[in-house]
Symmetry: C2
Subunit: 193 residues, 2 copies
């Protein structure tokens, strides 16, 4: 666990400088949690009480629509997860589940409030993070609107090549909004180019 705490501090100090006392404060919050592969950390209709930051592993968000999974995101190392249900204080419309064994930080509204008050520099960091997340989310929307599934697949491979070996193909197909057979065809087509 200590190693993961160090990881978290290392990550944060890439963006802001923290005093020794602030580092101790963060460690005292005991934010780190471990989940086994396939654990569902948020169910549909459940109200999210926590937001996360992935230190190790991969968490997937997906909807169940007429019995079919619609994957909307893969969160890996360095990605924050702020469930819509957490921000909007309403039941979740989607699931969050671990694709791999995961280590994350888990923050409640209370811990986030505490961090904001006690460590003001973290407020600035959270705010900047949120701004970047918002830009990423806009880009994702616009890709979905404008690009073909094949173009989105190529972009995903370019931007996050690690996903290719970490995520089952059927989940990637679901993320692209196509059938696994269509993804196989796209892959064959691309390998011939």
């Amino acid at each position: 666990m200590n190693e993961m705490e160090e990881h978290l501090i290392e990550f944060l100090t890439q963006f802001v400088s923290l005093t020794e006392q602030e580092i101790v404060q963060i460690k005292q919050l005991e934010l780190i949690r471990e989940f086994q592969k396939n654990t569902v950390i948020l169910h549909e209709q459940e109200q999210a009480k926590q937001c996360y930051f992935v230190l190790k592993g991969c968490i997937r968000s997906y909807y169940l629509v007429d019995g079919e999974e619609k994957t909307t995101a893969f969160f890996t190392e360095g990605h924050p997860i702020i469930p819509v249900s957490y921000s909007k204080k309403q039941p979740s419309q989607y699931f969050l589940a671990c694709v791999e064994d995961c280590i994350v930080t888990a923050g409640t509204e209370q811990t986030t409030e505490l961090i904001r008050k006690e460590i003001p520099v973290m407020e600035t960091l959270i705010s900047r993070f949120n701004e970047q997340l918002l830009a990423d989310s806009q880009l994702k929307y616009e890709d979905l609107l404008i690009l073909s599934p094949q173009q989105r697949y190529v972009k995903l491979l370019e931007q996050r090549p690690d996903l290719y070996n970490r995520i089952p193909q059927y989940m990637i197909a679901s993320y692209l909004g196509i059938k696994p057979e269509s993804l196989s065809r796209i892959r064959k087509r691309l390998s011939r180019q």
Copy 2:
């Protein structure tokens, strides 16, 4: 202009309490700008230097793909606009244009930095705003992935009925990712129900 400054302060004090001095500080920043209908405030390939907050009017974001407009958002009263290009410091992939005569606040990185430093309570407000914007952006993505154009149209009418009379139908069709003829068919179908 004074009236719009009052509008801005009124809006802000819904969420945080501001001291007299803070209100004076905000007014001194002279953030308010007016744009005439059809003004393009951000061009494709231009790097956005400002983010906005709409006090009056409507601004639309759209891509040009093979000569065809793809509308991605309508920003009206109370909506912040944080262009991807502004957050990512890269050329914009899309346009921002005024659908109506508009009055907005326009903030540069410098003014935002100043506000963050001088009026700490605004940092918290910006952070919370960004969190809500992020949740909205996620929901929008998921609607696009899951709902049919007709379902998205019904949802848009429910959530933002004012748009119906403010926005030309061809822009709404472009937002829904369908041809104007298809939108006419959807409207006829819905009026028969």
